[in-house]
Point group: C2
Chain length 342, copies 2
């Protein structure tokens, strides 16, 4: 019980001193597992992201905050593309801005296959190029052509702007590429949107994509799900629903019920869904978002696979390109799409 007493002490101190919230203290006294790659160990041992508990008060503050966080993410992208031999073009599909990422040596089998990528960021982060790291890694490691949707977001464009844009791109892609050659993937908000896209496609009578890879998907935007509590302060990326995350949920929902399946796909009817691969980590605040969706899919008879990384907080499988877990993850996605795309 030594550990919990340490946590208690650290938490108590932080309460008494009214310094950083208790969650930070908890994460920092847990030992870092040594059975994962050195790169992942470094991510696990890191302090909680400095902005997790920011609470922008109005639209201007949100925009300033988003710019600030986004700039950091964008800096490393040109080098990453070069390192992985991935080229990028910008354009529009169905009126929506997109980026297309293409690997140097696109395998013959993937010439006419497309992966649609929906980025993460709580419907506020990831605008423009800043959310493209996952798309670049998938193109570079998985050797697929990736169409990345630069969808509209809060605060300017609340629900359903983001998913409207995603479905517009998907609908347009279908005109030239049959659904059985299209896979959809994304992480966090993008994982949730990948699932919502399938719900929307069903609702609109569109053919469903051949396969979905939903990484630690935001399947319940209300604070429902066990790991919102058990991994609060254990996850060093999101840290807590009660940081910027919950604010962003309400900002994007704009008064809509957070449990509407078009916001929280875990409440949707998933019958007839294509094969789905879900990914999370043992420390992930979204572990329950992931496993609840996985169980729901399996109950509905959908072939649904789950991978949970040891010691990993939210979405860390795409944060360090050099981690063996990153390579493993995108290779899993490659095999998954190879298996299910026509």
């Amino acid at each position: 019980m030594k550990l919990n007493k340490q946590i208690a002490f650290a938490v108590l101190m932080s309460c008494l001193l009214t310094t950083p919230a208790s969650a930070q203290a908890a994460a920092q006294v847990l030992p870092t597992p040594h059975t994962v790659s050195p790169e992942l160990q470094q991510l696990i041992a890191a302090k909680p992201l400095p902005y997790w508990n920011d609470h922008p008060k109005n639209n201007n503050e949100w925009k300033a905050w988003v710019n600030n966080v986004g700039q950091e993410a964008t800096k490393r992208l040109p080098a990453l593309r070069e390192h992985l031999g991935v080229s990028v073009t910008q354009g529009k599909i169905g009126g929506v801005p997109i980026f297309t990422f293409t690997p140097q040596n696109l395998p013959q089998a993937n010439q006419d296959r497309i992966l649609l990528n929906l980025h993460g960021g709580g419907y506020v982060l990831g605008a423009g190029e800043s959310g493209t790291q996952e798309a670049v890694l998938m193109a570079g490691i998985g050797k697929y052509k990736v169409v990345y949707v630069d969808y509209r977001m809060a605060p300017n464009f609340p629900y359903p702007a983001a998913i409207d844009d995603a479905i517009s791109v998907y609908r347009e892609l279908l005109k030239k590429t049959p659904a059985e050659k299209i896979g959809v993937f994304g992480t966090s908000t993008g994982g949730g949107m990948s699932l919502i896209l399938a719900l929307r496609a069903k609702a609109e009578g569109l053919p469903l994509p051949a396969a979905i890879a939903a990484g630690t998907p935001w399947t319940d935007m209300s604070k429902t799900g066990d790991s919102y509590f058990t991994n609060e302060g254990v996850d060093n990326v999101l840290v807590s629903y009660d940081g910027w995350l919950g604010d962003a949920a309400r900002l994007y929902a704009g008064g809509h019920n957070l449990k509407d399946p078009m916001l929280s796909p875990v409440y949707g009817d998933v019958s007839g869904f294509p094969p789905t691969l879900l990914t999370s980590g043992t420390r992930d605040l979204f572990l329950s978002n992931t496993v609840r969706m996985h169980l729901k899919l399996r109950e509905a008879g959908v072939p649904a696979d789950l991978v949970v990384f040891e010691g990993m907080s939210h979405a860390q499988y795409h944060m360090n390109p050099n981690a063996s877990e990153t390579k493993f993850h995108f290779t899993e996605l490659e095999h998954f799409f190879n298996r299910y795309l026509h």
Copy 2:
């Protein structure tokens, strides 16, 4: 951060009062998820098992403790067998005592298939009939003939007695039933042993079973694995490695290195393993034992599936026969074995 402050307060109080260990306090202030079955909610909301922090000091104390815990487990078994229409016979195979469980309506396809069951209990609990609940549920729900191994355990019979007995039964079964018609399953220690059995079979040149279902398997008997720390005091079944569990590990190992693959199969060479299904829960102290093994199997190219139950502590999928999760779990196992057994 309200929750962590509550935990901090509860932990602080328990430290100050030097009453029950902090782990108990932590588990009890976490809200119970309402998205799982009422039966599982009840298991989640329950106080930690009263004996989790017992520390028998010598062989006689261990035996008294084991008898005490075992009696409780055995009481409900006759009614469960009757309810599920499962008959039982006792016997010996290869000199090892076994129970055979047969469902009333054994499907034609399963007439000559056998599932070998290795029970849980930290190599100290589950002797005789007391460890048979999982075997009965699999026979009754999954409609398979189940051979349950009543293997020798600590303190009288330390390593390698238990796995020696398991391999003796398996070797004998092979004389009449080809390996492609044999599946192996078990939970906790029994999950670990199911994996060790495959390692032993490889080492001894025996054909491997057709499929393995390892429920929340004890794949690392040393205190290595992130959820030994993150889920300490969150899991209300095992609660902590530092309760009876760690003592039992050392008792059975009898001085052997706890990281020997024949004790901790996560360190073994799993190449060539048959398809494997692993199961855990978000609150499970053995979540890392489970996902580390899952990742290792997938890295080795073994078809390995993972199911993680929402809100579940260690092995609660076989504790209440009326929970929908129990039915789901054993139906998953049924489909899994149907798929991979000849």
